[in-house]
Symmetry: D2
């Protein structure tokens, strides 16, 4: 099976997530990176392309040009990874979709719900593959949780507790010129959501991915705790799900000492589960009236969803890159299915998941600015 020819927009030197996408694409050897518009800065773009061994001709200074030229090449790229700041996602994605190129897009989908909906209609029209890298759904034990809930191992779901806490924005490092902080705290680039956009959308998606339920209503209390910051850096959110399940979501980037503390806990009538991103190879499972069990990736009692997403035996920890690579590998399956005009079931987050993320951001901001009131998602 020939490898998928991949391009990338954004992700030049100094980018964190660009290199993550590249490692994820490499790990299972199903992609080859052949083209890029790696930076809006021409020199950075060139240097970055050079260090990645890209053919000079396929290092572009404009994503529009790249989309057109690559589409015309015989061995042009089939898919593009978009890893720019949020405000560019929509226009970049459209350029490639309109040239028949599949898209793998970082989250949140866009910088506004309106943009997202516009993009969705193009995706629908083109019939191309569109993956949103809610990468935490790629972790094997997250998928194990999903499978167990689907199987009824937890009974009827009642309560969900999710949190995603970081501490790296506890001070105003954006004022020091910190590149990652700079655009994430700038509404012009990030959109109307700060922490809730950057990491809250991950948690939101995870809650729906794992439980198979949807958030119906939410109530949010957002803050910009760091003086002078325009976007939220802490969010306390209550949620109601379609089946009556109740939830709380805490999102913070000013939780001093927290690194990348994404944690999900779900409690049903028959059992509870808990998973933490920072110790991702394990899933705690508490059946009613029995001792706590620690399920281990690759170990006993693991279902096929997690099994299919596992590369190495239990006890040999897989991490963030491996989880991310599962999204890439699953997307490769979708692209191959598209090549052969066939269908395949997939766990890859779609444009619809992207839209729900945008609804989440906009609803949360609206609830909070209204003083903390219950709103239906997307209302």
């Amino acid at each position: 099976m020939s490898k998928i020819k991949l391009g990338m927009v954004g992700g030049g030197k100094g980018s964190f997530i660009g290199e993550v996408h590249r490692m994820a694409a490499r790990l299972d050897d199903r992609y080859e990176l052949l083209a890029g518009a790696l930076s809006s800065d021409v020199n950075t773009a060139k240097e970055s392309a050079l260090s990645l061994n890209l053919d000079k001709k396929r290092s572009y200074s404009s994503f529009d040009t790249m989309a057109e030229v690559e589409a015309a090449l015989e061995d042009g790229i089939e898919a593009v990874a978009i890893v720019t700041p949020n405000h560019l996602h929509a226009q970049v994605a459209e350029a490639f979709l309109n040239n028949g190129i599949h898209v793998i897009c970082d989250k949140p989908l866009t910088s506004s719900l309106a943009d997202a909906e516009g993009l969705a209609s193009i995706v629908k029209d083109t019939g191309l593959v569109f993956a949103v890298t809610y990468n935490y759904s790629g972790y094997p034990m997250v998928r194990q949780a999903r499978e167990m809930i689907q199987n009824g191992d937890l009974g009827e779901l009642r309560v969900i507790q999710i949190e995603y806490a970081q501490g790296w924005l506890a001070t105003d490092i954006e004022k020091t010129g910190h590149k990652q902080a700079l655009w994430r705290t700038n509404p012009a680039k990030a959109g109307i959501g700060g922490a809730i956009g950057d990491i809250g959308t991950h948690a939101f998606h995870l809650s729906e991915f794992v439980t198979g339920l949807q958030v119906k209503d939410l109530l949010a209390d957002l803050d910009s705790m760091v003086s002078g910051r325009e976007l939220d850096d802490n969010a306390n959110i209550l949620m109601k799900y379609t089946n009556g399940m109740k939830g709380m979501l805490w999102v913070s980037q000013i939780a001093t000492g927290k690194e990348n503390g994404l944690k999900i806990r779900v409690f049903g009538t028959k059992a509870g589960i808990e998973w933490s991103q920072e110790n991702p190879n394990f899933l705690e499972f508490s059946p009613l009236g029995e001792s706590l069990r620690t399920l281990s990736r690759g170990g006993p009692s693991i279902g096929s969803l997690a099994g299919d997403a596992t590369r190495i035996p239990s006890g040999h920890p897989e991490g963030f890159i491996e989880g991310f690579a599962n999204i890439y590998s699953d997307t490769a399956d979708l692209i191959l299915a598209h090549r052969s005009n066939s269908k395949t079931n997939s766990l890859v987050p779609t444009i619809n998941d992207g839209i729900r993320g945008m609804q989440f951001i906009e609803t949360a901001v609206k609830s909070s600015t209204s003083g903390g009131v219950w709103l239906s998602l997307g209302s």
Copy 2:
């Protein structure tokens, strides 16, 4: 120093908390239990008194009689521990206060705020010692957290996350005749709060004890997840504190697999801390820009509040009973000070803490039944 003569109301056979109070009173040898009205059931009262080696004459079938008779005895009790269901706290306490006997009362203070306020005025009039056993404030590392916050080690406080999750009411065990469940799920005995009264008040108190701040406003979403249950068994609560700190509080008794999961996390401008009741000898401390430190009870860098509440060296775990005993020992200090008509600083939860707990319950219920709206505490 002679021991404090102690009586007990409630806490007969089958009681959990009665025996805890007795062990707590014994541990430091500052009390002797001499009298009791241990059960509303006459036989249970007798048997219980016998098994505790009480003088038969001082085993009472009525707390009123007990209060009067003991007050008249030359060596009558100086203090009484009240460990009945909530609805009896007020009248029992009043009987003893009116007879000049100090009170150690379990939580929540009463079954209604009105009762609590009535009781408070009696306490004030008598000038007697009144302790409410919010026992989690007795743990040394909780006190260490308080001291560090008072010292400014966390800087300005921004965010608090508290949870108190149990799973023992995940099914309707009250229908099986389970004694503990029976009264706790019965509004006539427990008052208007279920989980928020039974354990939520602990968490609420802890948040104010540790931070030195007060909850100003709250918004609550309460549920009775188990079919047919009248009182809440799960509560999702948002809070605003006096200094602008924001908080979330999750209280549950249907979180399958959770045992006694009380956890508190506080984040300030300079550091964050985390403490878990189920591993109580440690306090995690994350100063900005430094590695996580695990402070250990009895170990390096421990202040005087925790030090004074510590009996044995680090590595030799102290537990729930020891923490509870600290409340008893500190109350003994108050009683001795009262004997000598002197004053002493104290960490013992007071009648005012009890009233705040009742305000918390009533405000939470009101917010929730109003559809989840922000209310000022006590409004």
Copy 3:
């Protein structure tokens, strides 16, 4: 049932273990401390007795006098707790045994095997209760481990790994006058074993208590890592047990950062278990081909040995004092059985366990001074 009248030798001001014994004796209210020879220093003895509310007449300056006088009193003590440095255990115990008084003796039993054997013959002759406070066998989850192994849940035992690591002697604090360090590093008071006597004997006993097997042969490599120290402060030991099980034991008091790190792991043909003293309410259980389970004191799947040793529900941590108190409570059962001339099964460590501990010390020292050779225990 009347309480057991208790005396104490040693354990005056500044003692760690004396106060532990007293709290352990108090917790379940089955003893009353009435007499003591609490210190070899007359003033310390007096002050200590005063602070414990002992009758002045029953505060003795000599244990010999105490034994004789108490034996003659109508309400004299029935049992004595011996908490002196090791070299005095034998003579103190003999004095009380010869006066018909039961003995609860701290470990190691004596400062030499010869002393221990002499003492054993007196115990045998008198028929009195003699308990050695290998207190770690009092923890409920240690007993759970024992019961599971007896029940065959682990299958045939193959491997045991035990360690007991502390760091408090990592520097020569005995030269600073540190009281606890001073006698423990002094052969005249501690005997020929340093760390292996002070804490190694605990680990050794625990290994036999939990597995029901006996050490047959051992090979030891002992060191005095701190310059100028006469007794061992680190010991690496290999062991062979009666059934062919192999073991390793690491004992250290110079393991910087370790507090009281006693840990035991046993692996059989059907399952493995792990227990750590610093987190004592849990027992990890790994059945072959199944997920890890965490058994919780007071929780599901707990047997009667642990159940009988449990005071409060799961999630409410019990600690070191509670475990120690189980030894006291079980010894109370033995004393009551002796009163009524009946028999009772018991888990209390006996004089024979004490002797095995002394054999362990002497064999380990001999093996090490011989350059590290295999020796039969007691050879």
Copy 4:
């Protein structure tokens, strides 16, 4: 910089470690896999090559032919990864070295010390790069431990405790035809060491890598606990290091419930450290008289060795593959230095480390078969 052309011997379908090497080689994009003799079974070799997109002509059925042909190709491989069972390492390595091709060889180096020494002289003669994949030394926090010890943060080292415990050979799965178990328990393929060869050598290497000290003497007690197994599956080993440090090493593949439990603890006069492979992103650090600190990969207080081996920020876990990839990336540096005839410092395990591993195996077996006696390493 052009990528390094890589071949592989062994590692066909069903191999665990072959795919690990390939993922490790891919992750940082510094190698391209172009040739292979992937299996001794012709069909497996073909299928495996096909699934890896190898040019058919460069899928060899014999490693000898591969070495010769590739050496003659203009774009032939520069390096070969050897991932066969142990007994083939030496001859395969020699074939490639003799054809001027660098070698990356799995561990243990060979199946006998004699073979290892023969190989070493060839390596020396050819001057080629020879890396042994003691991959655990690639973990960032292992390197952090090494750097801290080199910097003197632990003071003088006194005690090391290492363990490497697995449970997958707790039953005789080799009799079920389990491929991994089959050759590892067969002396003809594995050599004279079972668990000590397969995983003990990793632990042994790690101890020397982290501490910078060498094992001088050891004493071993090896067992084949599973009936009918020819090679050791459990080993208890005592060690003495060059500076007087004492150590214990436990190696087991029958520790039911253990997955890949490699753990190292080192204690010095100034501090102690602890690292566990199953939670590899953290290093516990206990300075004398201070609270425990948890150093986090990518977090505060991390030195350059760990920093250079880190791809993504703290809180985003890196795992086994990433650690393995660090060995590959460092080896790429060596190969580039060789291309340019320059020198570079390197942490990559060398042929000498391989030889020490073989000395460890042979000395341990000899010690054990002699009844457990102290032997000098390599004696």
